[in-house]
């Protein structure tokens, strides 16, 4: 064992990387699961998987999309393994989840609720892109979609949010 005073920033670069990215992993897991406890569980599983697979990460610059991908897979695995009930969007809203609140910025809170209400097929790629920094190619690979399909979903997600934000909707691809 190698004792180290508490509170230092010691540890391997990989451990520090995980520590740094953990908040966004929790946020991503929450947007996927719409349940805080499940999100925490997913991230904990993710950190274990990441630690065991750390040799696979050749470039630390790619850590964020790599970890987001693991979060998404762990989320899917958790639901598959435990057969968790899906979360009713209205029920989440009814809870008045404080995680969605924003001090003094009602617009931001409305936007959070609007994102929460997006269908999974739109919300997931949007969060992967904006929060995770994944490219549309990476999103397509992860979701098993063509790049064109990813672009369409991202456009539609933002188009719905435009309306919530008080902007006119753009004409859709099918319009």
């Amino acid at each position: 064992m190698n004792p180290r005073p508490r509170g230092t920033t010691g540890g391997s670069p990989f451990a520090r990387l995980l520590e740094m990215l953990r908040p966004d992993l929790v946020r991503f897991a929450f947007w996927l699961a719409r349940d805080r406890a499940v999100a925490e569980d997913v991230v904990q599983e993710t950190l274990i998987r990441a630690w065991k697979s750390r040799e696979e990460l050749k470039d630390q610059a790619a850590a964020r999309p790599w970890l987001f991908t693991i979060v998404r897979r762990e989320h899917a695995r958790l639901f598959e393994r435990k057969r968790l009930p899906t979360v009713d969007v209205d029920q989440v809203e009814a809870l008045g989840d404080p995680a969605l609140a924003s001090d003094g910025d009602a617009g931001l809170e409305d936007l959070r609720r609007a994102i929460m209400q997006l269908p999974d097929e739109y919300r997931e790629p949007l969060v992967m892109q904006v929060l995770g920094g994944l490219t549309t190619t990476e999103i397509g690979t992860e979701l098993g979609l063509t790049q064109a399909a990813v672009l369409t979903r991202l456009f539609r997600a933002r188009n719905r949010l435009r309306v919530i934000y008080g902007l006119p909707a753009a004409e859709d691809a099918d319009g």
Binding site: M1, V26, R27, W31, L111, V150
Partner: protein, 216 residues
């Protein structure tokens, strides 16, 4: 609005910050699409802010049921510590854990595994979740610091390990300790702490690792 505008806006809506040469060329000649792009970029900034949930509020709300992703939490505690144990003075908590173990000396002598039903009942009584994949040789709901906690003994290939899930102990960063004939560690786990104790001399790191890996 022509077809060009429609396709450009779809491209902007999909990737507000990435512009192909075609989009750039169109924007140079179309004020309406430039306005659309400006709006979308502004919206995207708000979307990013919206996605960055305040984790402080995230953690303040009590869970409807206490959840303990036991091994995962411990592993994370190890990770953020850089895979090393924290060096801390002997804590009162560690002493009380060892004292509790001493009061149940027979717990390490068990030769039969505890049934899943018994384990589930013990965990339910304490209001925690734990799904060990290593054999549980002993499980008892024990009073500890005013709460009922699961006192478990799991069998590893290095020997038995006592595991106490201390859901009500918020400050579990007490680190490694040695007391008398026992060696252990108290670490944060979930919203509480976990204490793991083994006889001194028993290879501890490997045993703990086995417990953690057994629960993955």
């Amino acid at each position: 609005m022509g077809n060009d505008c429609k396709h450009v806006r779809i491209a902007i809506g999909a990737e507000p910050h990435a512009q192909s040469p075609e989009v750039t060329a169109h924007l140079a000649t179309c004020a309406a699409c430039r306005q659309f792009q400006a709006e979308t970029v502004a919206l995207d900034g708000r979307v990013r802010a919206a996605l960055e949930l305040p984790l402080s509020k995230f953690r303040k709300t009590p869970m409807p049921a206490r959840r303990f992703a036991l091994a995962a939490s411990v592993v994370f505690a190890l990770l953020v510590g850089g895979g090393v144990w924290l060096f801390r003075p002997q804590s009162a908590l560690a002493s009380e854990v060892v004292e509790h173990v001493l009061h149940e000396p027979g717990s390490w002598q068990r030769r039969e595994t505890v049934s899943p039903e018994t384990l589930a009942a013990v965990l339910a009584k304490a209001g925690v979740r734990y799904n060990p994949r290593l054999p549980v040789m002993y499980a008892s709901p024990c009073p500890f610091r005013g709460h009922i906690v699961p006192h478990l003994v799991v069998q590893t290939d290095r020997g038995p390990l006592t595991v106490m899930v201390l859901a009500h102990e918020q400050d579990g960063s007490n680190g490694e300790f040695t007391e008398g004939k026992y060696h252990g560690v108290v670490l944060p786990a979930g919203s509480g702490s976990i204490a793991v104790v083994a006889p001194k001399g028993q290879e501890f790191d490997g045993a703990l690792k086995a417990v953690l890996e057994g629960t993955l």
